[in-house]
Structures are given as C-alpha cells and as structure tokens.
C-alpha cells in the first residue's frame, strides 16, 4: 500500500505544479514507483510541465465516470519506467468530480504505486476538497511573501479540519540576496507564523522556468540549485535526514582568488 501526498498552497502561482512534477520525478529517480495526479480540472498544467501533453487520450474525469479503465488513463513517463501521470480533464470543471469518487480513485492508485503525488488547484473550493479527499499527507508550498504565507496559513487550518496528519512546509523561490537585504521574508519568519515542520527550501532558479517550458523537470539537471533542493526533499520524504540547504554560502576559494585579481 502506497502513500498519497497532496501538494497544496491556497494561493496560485507559488509553484505547486512545478513542485509536484519535481518531487514526483525525484522520487522516481530514487527508484520509487510514482503516480502524479493532476486534480486541477479545467486548468490542467502538470502534463505540460512533464512534457506529456501530446500523449493524453483519457483523463481523470473519464476514469471517474467509467468511460475508461483507470489503467488506460495513466500516461507512462518518457524518461522513467515507473513514473506515471493521471492528467486532469481540460473540458470540464471542478464540479465534475466528488470528493468521495476522488478518495476511491486515489485508494485504487495506492495499491499499485509507492507514492501518489496529487497536484492541488489554487483556492479552497471544490477543487481543493477533491484534491485532499484521498490524501494521507500534505505538503504546503509557499513563497516568502506575506500574501502567500497568509494563504498557506488558511490552508493549514483547513487541512487540520480534513484530518490530514501534520502537513509539511516547502518554501519556494527564495532569493537569498533579497532576504539578506531584508526585502524578503526570512525563512524563520515564515516558519514562526506557520508553525509546521519544514520539509525543504527551494531557491529561485531561472533554470526552473526553462525546464518547465521544455517539459523536462528541473530535477533532471543536476547542475541547478533548485534541482538539488528537490532531490533533497524527495530523500526527506523517504525518511533520510538531509540537512537543509544554506543560502548564505561563503564564496569558495576560487571565487575569492578571482575577486582578488579583479580588484587588483
């Protein structure tokens, strides 16, 4: 029996879909059997970010309404043997599915997969209720902005009501130089307000945008900082004690030498 993890945030645009794609891929990279589920019915994105858009034949609503078998709606990833995507319908809306149907669907998937990663839509209405219905655990994604933290706080309250065991926090798009100048919320500030366990910190990385547009999750590129952050998060989900990434990294020896010569 696998585990279903919902990735949620409340606010839109903080990186739920990117986080889902990368955590799912990173777990597959670590040899786990993973299914990504896009519950953003009507505004699906996960297939685009994963680069699987052109392979969709059936979708989540088809599977729920019995127009196809669940296995038929699953799309196998082009890079990994054991990574699958269940895409959302683009032509319906959030009310096409009920939480109870969603719970059954996720339970069915949990029989076949080690991890079911559920990408939740923004907002707190039907779509959110559907997404969390079948989840065992939750990851709350936020960015170091007041508005995002406010919404994350609301979501944590709602998750507690849904009886999902203690949600974990990912702070996305941190810009270390802004934090240092005091123009961006500190990691500690965010954690103090939300008061839940920190699962990972992801720095703002231009590579993420490029990767999302090319349909290749960032995690595939071992040179990007965000990629390492996502891999660490995946390892923490598996139970490894990986230290949190530090951004105030002192310049390395070579950088010092280079700086010295430039000044000289």
């Amino acid at each position: 029996m696998g585990e279903a993890i919902v990735i949620t945030s409340g606010k839109g645009g903080v990186g739920k879909t990117t986080t889902s794609a990368n955590i799912g891929t990173a777990l597959a990279l670590l040899g786990k059997k993973v299914c990504l589920v896009d519950t953003d019915i009507g505004l699906r994105n996960l297939d685009v970010v994963m680069g699987l858009e052109n392979r969709i034949i059936y979708d989540l609503v088809d599977a729920v309404e019995g127009r196809c078998k669940l296995q038929q709606a699953l799309i196998k990833d082009k890079r990994f043997e054991e990574l699958y995507l269940l895409p959302a319908a683009q032509t319906k809306d959030k009310h096409a599915v009920e939480p109870e149907q969603m719970r059954n669907l996720i339970n069915e998937l949990k029989n076949d997969f080690d991890y079911v990663v559920i990408d939740c839509p923004a907002g707190i209405e039907q779509g959110f209720k559907n997404a969390v219905a079948g989840a065992d655990k939750a990851i709350v994604v936020t960015t170091p902005e007041n508005a995002a933290v406010r919404d994350a706080d609301r979501i944590i309250g709602l998750l507690e009501k849904e009886r999902i065991e203690s949600p974990k926090l990912i702070i996305n798009r941190i810009r270390p130089h802004l934090v240092k100048k005091g123009d961006m919320l500190d990691v500690d500030d965010v954690c103090q307000v939300l008061a839940i366990d920190l699962l990972g910190l992801v720095p703002d990385d231009e590579h993420v945008i490029k990767a999302a547009n090319s349909g290749e999750p960032t995690v595939m590129n071992p040179d990007s900082k965000a990629s390492i952050a996502y891999r660490n998060i995946a390892r923490r989900i598996l139970g490894d004690a990986v230290p949190l990434m530090r951004f105030d990294s002192k310049p390395g020896m070579m950088a010092k030498v280079r700086k010295f010569f430039r000044l000289g």
């Binding site: 007041n146 406010r150 919404d151 706080d153 609301r154 944590i156 309250g157 709602l158 307000v193 939300l194 008061a195």
Partner: protein, 223 residues
C-alpha cells in the same frame, strides 16, 4: 417578633396557603425563620386537615438542594402539601457564569475564528487573518498577530493581553482600533495589554493591569 426577622409570610387564600419567602435576606436566615414558624409560633395554626401550599420564592435564585431543603421543612409538618414553587429569578440556569475562564490551546490560523462566552485564555498564537472573540477578557500566551475582540456584548471594562501584542486590529466592546495609527507599539519585549480609557484604545505594560482594572484578587495574607 421584630420585623427584620420576619422573612416568611404565610397567607391564606381559597385554594390553601401561600408561603411568601423574602428574596433579599440571607438564605440561612430564611431557613431559620421558616423552621421557627412551622415548629413554634404557627405550630397550632397549621395543624389540621390537609392543606395545599404554594411557595413563592420571589427573585431569589436557589440551587436544587436549597429548594429541596425548603420543601422538606414544609413537608415535615405532615398536613402541608406543596403544590408548586414559584420563582421570578432570572433564568440563568444554562448560562455560564460571567467571567468563566475558557482555556484553549492551539494556533488560530488565517480564516479561523475562536469565540468564547466569558474570558479566554489562549495558549498559542493568533496568526494574521485569524480572529479571537470573547464576551469578557482575552489573555493570550503567545503572539497576537490577527484580530482580537474583547467585551463583545458591550463590556467596556474588558482587556486584551498578549505575550506578543502585534495585532492587525483590536476591538473592545464597540471601539475599533488599528495599531500603528492610534497607539505606539513598544519595542521592548514586555507583555502588554489593551484597554479602553475614556472610549479610547490604550496600551500599557501587563504588570500595570491590576492598577487599571483592579480585580477581586484574594491573596492569602501572612499574619
């Protein structure tokens, strides 16, 4: 017999007797007078055939045991049958006593509201967007970063105290105030509380609370 001691009036009407019990005196005095009348002064008058009795308590509110005690004294006469007990006491049987303290633990998150009837002691934070409301005082062992409304029923004596007072808004009774505009937040880490002074929101250090709102604190005094 002096008038002061006359706490029980017994009157007769066509249905029987009416016991009018004084609702101002001490309960113990009432019981004493009732016993005295039934067993001594009116002993002979009340002897005889079965008489129906109506007991009128006036505005006194009695507990169940007290009511039972009064009835058993009357019944002990043998021939008196209590038909009914009438009370004009305000019906507050189910209402919690004013000032009852409710202790709550946890974080009040954005979008959540915690309401209590009485005083609130919250162990935990109130996050921005969260709301705590109480008909009495609000005490927070934690950070108040959201909204707090004390004295919701209109109690202007209510106060709001917190370990870390950084609210988005404070309300006491009908007065609403936004922090930085109306009162300065102090930089030091001492606990503070908010109260109404001439209808204006004011802030002071928590250690001054007893001066501004003296309570009925009963300290055990050393000899």
């Amino acid at each position: 017999m002096s008038a002061a001691k006359n706490h029980v009036l017994i009157k007769g009407n066509k249905d029987g007797l009416v016991f009018l019990l004084d609702d101002q005196c001490e309960y113990a005095d009432l019981v004493r007078d009732l016993r005295h009348k039934l067993e001594n002064t009116h002993h002979n008058l009340l002897r005889g055939p079965i008489v129906h009795v109506v007991v009128k308590l006036g505005k006194r509110s009695v507990t169940e045991e007290q009511s039972e005690e009064l009835l058993s004294i009357i019944r002990s006469c043998g021939n008196l049958i209590v038909q009914k007990v009438e009370s004009e006491a305000p019906d507050d049987g189910n209402k919690p006593v004013r000032g009852a303290l409710h202790v709550e633990k946890g974080i009040v998150r954005s979008g959540q509201t915690l309401y209590v009837d009485g005083d609130l002691l919250l162990v935990g934070d109130v996050n921005p967007g969260g709301t705590v409301e109480a008909t009495g005082n609000i005490y927070i062992l934690g950070a108040l970063k959201g909204m707090a409304h004390a004295g919701i029923g209109g109690d202007e004596q209510a106060v709001i105290a917190a370990s870390h007072l950084r609210p988005t808004q404070l309300r006491i009774a009908g007065v609403i105030s936004r922090p930085p505009d109306e009162w300065e937040l102090q930089g030091d880490m001492l606990m503070e509380f908010a109260y109404l002074q001439d209808g204006q929101m004011s802030i002071d250090k928590l250690i001054h609370l007893h001066r501004i709102r003296p309570g009925a604190a009963k300290f055990i005094q050393g000899e």
